[in-house]
């Protein structure tokens, strides 16, 4: 980009030439000391000119000077006639007194005689203002420079620049005028062309929707366009002239460092993003493309570039980045597919949930997750819902990469374009396998509680019935002779009543209404006592390992602890069919550790009882039911199914926890946590 246009240089150049020419012309006139001048080719005037010239030299009487003057006159004469500038000397009335040959060419005269008849002031094409100005100046005897135009003989217009000088006598009366006339037609044309071109350029520069600027090496702005001003909240580009580019940056130091590094690397073109300060103090982000212009000695001359306001884009990018971070950190799995179910995007939580990395699963169909546990109709219903533009939400069983079946809660939403057409589907998934387990546990717990309440209610009435039966039986037993058959029969009734009594007591145990008082007991000695009792019933083929630590005290009932140990050990014995290893451990711990590895820290200390066997294990289908009262896997007559229900009831009555792990063919481990005192 040129800052000093060529036409201005041209103008300056020609003005200097004109001034020099004028000075020379005056010198020439002085030397000649004559009024009439003419071309060398003119027969009339060249003789008289020479005569006058030489007579003047003779009058001086100095030979040396004469020779010098002669040489000087000749060269000036040549210059006068061959100068591209036309010269005229005119009298007060405008009649031509002297002229050079260039004037003929400029004004389009073919014959010298033609110009003699010309009156300078009678130029009918003279610009009106010039004519008025000339008249005034003539009266004031002042010089005048102006641009004008003439009509050539051939009818064409010639544009001129005229240097009008007034010569006066000692009384300051006008003697004559000298005018040098320069043909500026071509220059005018070039100027106009340049002006048009520059205007076009200016229009383009100011209309482009980017800010354009140029600075010198110090950072001082020497040019900027309207959009540059607009971006920075100013009205006119001129407001930046002389101001430093760095002053408009939020972090000028950073900019300076970047520039210095680019300059030292001689990198001429580069892009960057900066925060800039607007006129009202607001901060905007601009994208800058810079060009560094170096001179031949690699010194920085200019930095020119464009700036574009990218604040909205940057804000949108920042928002997008925030969303991406959120999506990447969210615990819900997110998957985006096209309308054919082809996976386009998954977040890290998806990988965690399904074990498929994005690279593995992209461009795969979402049906890769199908578990085979739903009917075709189930999937059809989902597809018809979402393709109709509606959300679908619900539980679905899917399959992980490793084949593991899991349950998830999923919401699928269609993504529509501006025309309302569905272009993608986004699914948000949450693995609810653990949640479902917890839910099942809660349900199980609620079920047991309900059974307990029911059993408690039944037991009350049942106890009253038993009470009546027992009293009357006892009355009869007292009244009837012990040796009689009736007495024997009554004894059987009485025994049956006692069994019923025990049963209600057990029912009340798991329903936490045993009626037994709880008191401070030393847990390890009670457990040890129970183990010793049960051990005597074990076959020799059953090995027992025990690690019973002194764990202090609990608020409990020795009979309950006996029931717990006996029930768990009996079950273990039966699961191992009398052959295997039974391990019993009792220790004091400060947290509850669940089988899934989750630890729950509480303020309490806990007594942990672990009973482990190497038996047949508990089948998956019955795992959820083992604590239910009257649920048993044993044959009829071998158990009522109240053992584990009773253990569960006691543990819950104590405010403790009970759970187990079991593997078919490997064995079962029961963990009991009772609150320590």
């Amino acid at each position: 980009m040129n800052i000093i246009p060529d036409h201005i240089l041209l103008l300056a150049q020609s003005s200097i030439i004109s001034i020099i020419a004028l000075l020379i012309m005056n010198k020439f006139f002085t030397i000649c000391n004559r009024i009439v001048f003419s071309d060398q080719n003119s027969n009339v005037n060249s003789i008289s000119l020479n005569k006058i010239f030489f007579s003047s030299i003779i009058q001086s009487g100095k030979i040396k000077e004469k020779i010098n003057l002669s040489i000087e006159k000749e060269s000036l004469d040549n210059f006068f006639n061959y100068s591209p500038i036309g010269f005229l000397r005119i009298d007060k009335a405008g009649n031509i007194l002297v002229f050079n040959s260039s004037i003929l060419k400029i004004l389009g005269f073919k014959q010298r005689e033609e110009i003699i008849s010309l009156n300078y002031f009678a130029n009918s094409f003279r610009v009106k203002e010039n004519e008025t100005a000339l008249n005034k100046l003539i009266q004031k005897s002042e010089d005048f420079v102006f641009e004008d135009c003439w009509r050539k003989q051939n009818g064409l217009i010639v544009y001129t620049k005229e240097y009008f000088k007034v010569f006066t006598d000692l009384n300051e009366r006008v003697k004559y005028f000298e005018v040098s006339i320069e043909d500026i037609t071509e220059k005018k044309r070039v100027d106009r062309a340049l002006q048009t071109s520059e205007e076009k350029f200016k229009t383009i520069i100011n209309k482009v929707p980017v800010g354009i600027y140029r600075t010198i090496a110090t950072g001082e702005i020497i040019f900027s366009n309207y959009h540059f001003a607009k971006i920075l909240g100013y009205e006119y580009p001129d407001e930046f002239k002389g101001r430093n580019f760095g002053n408009f940056l939020l972090n000028p130091k950073e900019y300076e460092n970047t520039m210095n590094s680019k300059i030292s690397l001689k990198q001429s073109s580069f892009s960057n993003e900066y925060a800039m300060k607007k006129a009202d103090g607001r901060i905007i982000w601009v994208h800058e493309t810079s060009n560094l212009i170096f001179d031949t000695s690699d010194e920085l001359l200019f930095c020119e570039g464009t700036i574009e306001d990218v604040t909205a884009k940057k804000n949108a990018e920042d928002e997008l980045n925030r969303l991406i971070v959120a999506i990447n950190q969210i615990s819900e799995a997110i998957v985006i597919t096209n309308t054919d179910g082809v996976i386009l995007y998954t977040n890290p939580a998806f990988e965690k949930m399904t074990l498929y990395t994005f690279d593995e699963i992209k461009n795969q169909k979402i049906s890769i997750l199908k578990s085979g546990q739903h009917s075709k109709e189930f999937y059809k219903k989902i597809l018809s819902t979402i393709h109709a533009g509606n959300n679908w939400s619900g539980r679905i069983i899917n399959k992980k990469k490793d084949g593991l079946i899991y349950e998830e809660h999923m919401v699928i939403s269609p993504i529509k374009n501006q025309e309302g057409q569905i272009i993608n589907f986004v699914a948000v998934k949450r693995d609810i396998t653990e949640e479902r387990k917890a839910e099942q546990q809660i349900n199980q717990s609620k079920k047991l509680q309900a059974i307990g309440t029911l059993a408690g209610g039944i037991a009350h009435d049942f106890n009253n019935i038993l009470m009546g039966m027992q009293i009357y039986t006892e009355i009869l037993l007292k009244k009837i002779s012990k040796s009689s058959n009736e007495h024997k029969l009554l004894e059987k009734i009485y025994a049956a009543q006692n069994r019923a009594k025990d049963l209600t007591k057990q029912i009340l145990s798991f329903s936490r209404q045993s009626g037994d008082d709880l008191k401070t007991i030393q847990i390890h000695s009670v457990v040890q006592e129970a183990i010793n009792l049960i051990q005597s019933t074990f076959p020799l083929s059953l090995k027992l390992e025990q690690k019973i630590n002194d764990c202090g005290y609990i608020n409990g009932n020795a009979t309950h602890i006996h029931q717990i140990v006996m029930n768990l050990c009996n079950n273990a014995n039966q699961a191992m069919e009398g052959n295997g290893l039974l391990t019993i451990e009792l220790e004091k711990v400060d947290n509850i550790e669940y089988p899934n590895g989750k630890k729950v820290h509480t303020n309490n200390n806990w007594i942990k009882l672990k009973v482990e066997d190497t038996g047949c294990g508990i089948e998956k289908k019955v795992k959820d039911r083992i604590f239910e009262p009257f649920f048993t896997t044993k044959s009829v007559g071998q158990g009522l199914g109240l053992g584990l229900a009773t253990v569960h009831g006691i543990v819950k009555q104590y405010g403790g926890e009970i759970f187990f792990t079991s593997e078919i063919g490997i064995g079962t481990v029961f963990y009991l946590y009772l609150p320590a005192l």
């Binding site: 309440t453 408690g456 209610g457 037991a459 009350h460 009435d461 106890n463 009253n464 019935i465 038993l466 009470m467 009546g468 027992q470 009293i471 009357y472 006892e474 009355i475 007292k478 009543q497 009594k501 009340l508 936490r512 209404q513 045993s514 009626g515 037994d516 008082d517």
Partner: protein
Amino acid sequence: MEEMYDILVVDDEPMIRDGLKVALEMEGHRTLTASDGNEALKIVDEKKPHLIITDIIMPESDGIEVICTVKENNPDIKILAISGGGRISASDHLKIAKQLGAAGVLTKPFSTEELISEINKLFE
């Protein structure tokens, strides 16, 4: 021969009420019966028995009311509370009864032996 006492048996369940009456009379005690708290308190005022054997959960006026009133008006009358449980356990009922002034407690179902032994303990 053990000493004989005037005993009031209070229970809403006729089978228990009547059964206990027979059993106690077989042991030589004089026995009165009432089917709820209100009836019992009237008898107490009139007959002033030595001992009241009362169920806790009864419709209308319950055993707790009997215990409280008797302890207030006739503190010398001994009370044996009996319960088979309900929405809360029998032991909880009986704990409350004991706190309110029942001299002894028995959880249903109990044997006549247990009952006689408990009565004897109360009058030792």
